[in-house]
Amino acid sequence: MLPPAGAVYDRGYRPYEGERGGRGASRAALVRVSIRRALGLRRSWRQKVLPWSLLAIATVPAVVNVGVKYITRNTPAADFDLITFREYVGVSTTLLLFVAITAPDMVCPDRRNRVLPLIFARPLTGNDYVLAKVGALTAILFAFSFLPQVVLFVGQMLVVQEGALDFLTENAEVLWQVPVAVALFSLYWASLAVAISATTQRRVVGGVALLATVFISGSVATTLVRAGGDGPATFVEGGNLWGLLSLIDTPLRTSDLVFLGHVDPESLVGGAAGAGIGVVLVYVAVVAGSLGYLLYRYRSVE
């Protein structure tokens, strides 16, 4: 007769005598585990579809731009750019949907399923947890935003008429501007998204709350800018500082500062006096506020 399912057998026990990492290893493991989960690795194919589809979608403009460059390389339209490196950082806003799904998935189940006491029984603190989650999402966003830029840069370099070396020389500034802008963009969305997600145990609520926050803030800012006069809000020359309230615009204006040294005059804040400083202050306030809230939220285990 077969023993019942789940019976306990005496198979002995072997003590572990291999390598053990310290706290650094535990922190790195938390980042690694968070990245794996976000990318759907070691999970069912359904969890893999979204992240990898979005990466593919985010890369499409780069491929199209390179294709157009190739086709027009010997024509008067050779200098036409479908999209610039600066604008491509904005295209990465398509990743907002990915952020709205991934950030809640990173933190909400841990609280909902009460996994936190298990995590904090390891050599990890609330600070480690916050930095690992924000760091993991920042790293993924950076990769997903940076890789299409690499495709755009390398693709153009290979197909332009003047040759790769000339293209590289002419666009040397991009080599630092793109990583810096993309890093700032990624840190902004990762901090804000994880902070908003940490307010709830439900993933759906976290995602909706993030999208609502950024879109409502954008709508409010647009309305207030329009109320200030001077025509359609998105094309206000010398717009006003109410545009700073748009949380969805902040990382784009930060990119303006990296690439142009000033805020795009066709944006909500336009050429308003102090717009650049205002953007920097809003950026710092959002990131610092989000991280501060998260550190407070996870200051002690449940």
Binding site: G6, E19, G21, S26, R122, T125
Partner: protein, 306 residues
Amino acid sequence: MADDLLLRTDGLSLRYPGGTLALDGLTVDVPRGSVGLVGANGAGKTTLLRLALGQLRPTAGTIEVAGRAVADDPIGVRAHIGFMPEHDCLPPDQTAADVVATLGELAGLPPRAARQRASEVLDLVGLDEARFRPIGGFSTGMRQRTKLAQAIVADPEVVLLDEPTAGLDPIGREEMLSLVGRLAGFGISALVATHLLDDVQRVCDQVVMIDGGKLRHAGATQALLHRTGALRVEVNDGAARLAELLGAAGVAVTVLDDATLDVRVDGDGDDVVDLLRDGADDLGLALHAMTTRRTSLDELFVDEPR
């Protein structure tokens, strides 16, 4: 520091911000092995476990786990401790193998070693067949065994088990107690927090009893049972008068009816027997029967004067 101790506390107190005094000057040395931490709900058991994990800072006093002062490195000490919480704490959408391997990695094991260890310990707890199934489909017993597996995946020196048999049916309870009882043989000392004294009697060689944050008893389980027995005394009548006489002499007595009483015995009990014999004689009572019986931990816990 004492390396041969599982736990040492000295004047350990913790008052929560709300004012509740969870532990009140607890001083105890607990040797390695299987140790039962017994107390009613709210006695301070879970608080003591959280202090051992460095998750709470004591209001006063010190605590050492496996010879390491928690205050010196409250985070690092966790590398040597496994913890099994009382409540459900496993993600239902992940497999047992993934959860245990992940928690092994978080304890500092390299990824490949963590997966290997997860496989071994899940095999050990009887989940070899089920380890690739989502935990959401597990029975309570399988979940408890998964929780135990994650606690020992990194081969800790000490595991803190909070109510390991909670919610289990008799078969699941037997399996869990069997596993807990084997931990000491693996070189893992276990501190088993429970309010089920029978569990402690069966698998723990040491017992620490706390009540209202204070120490009630600490020592070897068998010695405690041997030391604290009872005499069932039957007299022809006047049990109450005999009880009064014994009580005046400082002996704990429970009157069951007019002719029967239980007399608490500490140590070999010769002095109590002498007192009984002389007292019955003085009162003119006939001693019909006097039988010894060992006190279960339950009775000890309930009957002990506070």
